[in-house]
């Protein structure tokens, strides 16, 4: 199988105002590659939610995107505090975000459910004290 096109972004957890820069760049590059618009939109939203989570919950992390002819695979990994109860975290409206984060327009408990909603495959693994890994993909051939 042909090697995918790979894009890597290290996301800093220091500054909320720059959260989303990686997703913006990836969206721009997918557009330049001629990926169908609806697939780009779904991938960009899922990735943006993941990137916001990296910044507000995990103190930063890594985003790796692999572009195949038929799908966009997005791997998001951090060494943050981890998620104690993934089922609870996946339920709409559950959030551990602080009031400060809510005042910035995030932390409504929609991040993980939204990633799942906008992607075609979604897998999450998390260990408390170790970190979280998300592997999700959006099909581009439909």
């Amino acid at each position: 199988m042909r090697e995918p096109i790979r894009i890597h972004h290290a996301v800093s957890g220091e500054e909320f105002s720059t959260a989303g820069e990686a997703s913006t760049d990836i969206k721009k590059r997918l557009k330049m590659m001629g990926v169908p618009a609806e697939a780009i939109r779904r991938a960009a939203i899922a990735l943006y939610e993941a990137e916001i989570n990296l910044v507000i919950h995990a103190g930063g992390g890594d985003i790796d995107v692999e572009i195949y002819p038929d799908r966009i695979r997005m791997l998001v990994a951090d060494s943050g505090p981890g998620i104690a109860d993934i089922d609870l975290a996946m339920s709409e409206g559950f959030s551990t975000a602080t009031e400060d984060i809510r005042n910035l327009g995030f932390g409504a408990g929609m991040g993980l459910p939204n990633m799942k909603k906008y992607s075609d495959t979604f897998h999450i693994e998390s260990t408390t004290g170790v970190g979280t890994r998300i592997d999700m993909s959006v099909n581009t051939d439909d």
């Binding site: 959260a19 989303g20 943006y48 910035l104 327009g105 995030f106 409504a108 408990g109 929609m110």
Partner: protein, 117 residues
Amino acid sequence: MKIKEIAALLDADILTQKADTDRDVHTACGSDMMSDVLAYVKNQAVLLTGLNNPQVIRTADMMDMECVVFVRGKVPDEAIVSMGDEKNIALMTTQKTMFHACGILYKNGLMEDLPDA
């Protein structure tokens, strides 16, 4: 309705220089929670918000929106306005409240495109 007509209806000042305000838009939504915009909004072209930070423009960009209206007299800083110009998202500010601004636009024909249940 054209973006520049929205500005006229809301007595709003257009802040971006390059973003095209001659584009026709048909749908809008109002929220201060970007999480909700990302979760519940479908094909909205215009975002009305009282939130003033770069994430507003990034959220609008991810959702392929074309115009952001800052309500209650919020004025974004230069860096945010430049982001709007760069992404061809027209930014404007109005003194009107969220409720009032949404009401005017709704009355004049802008609709909400609700996601499928």
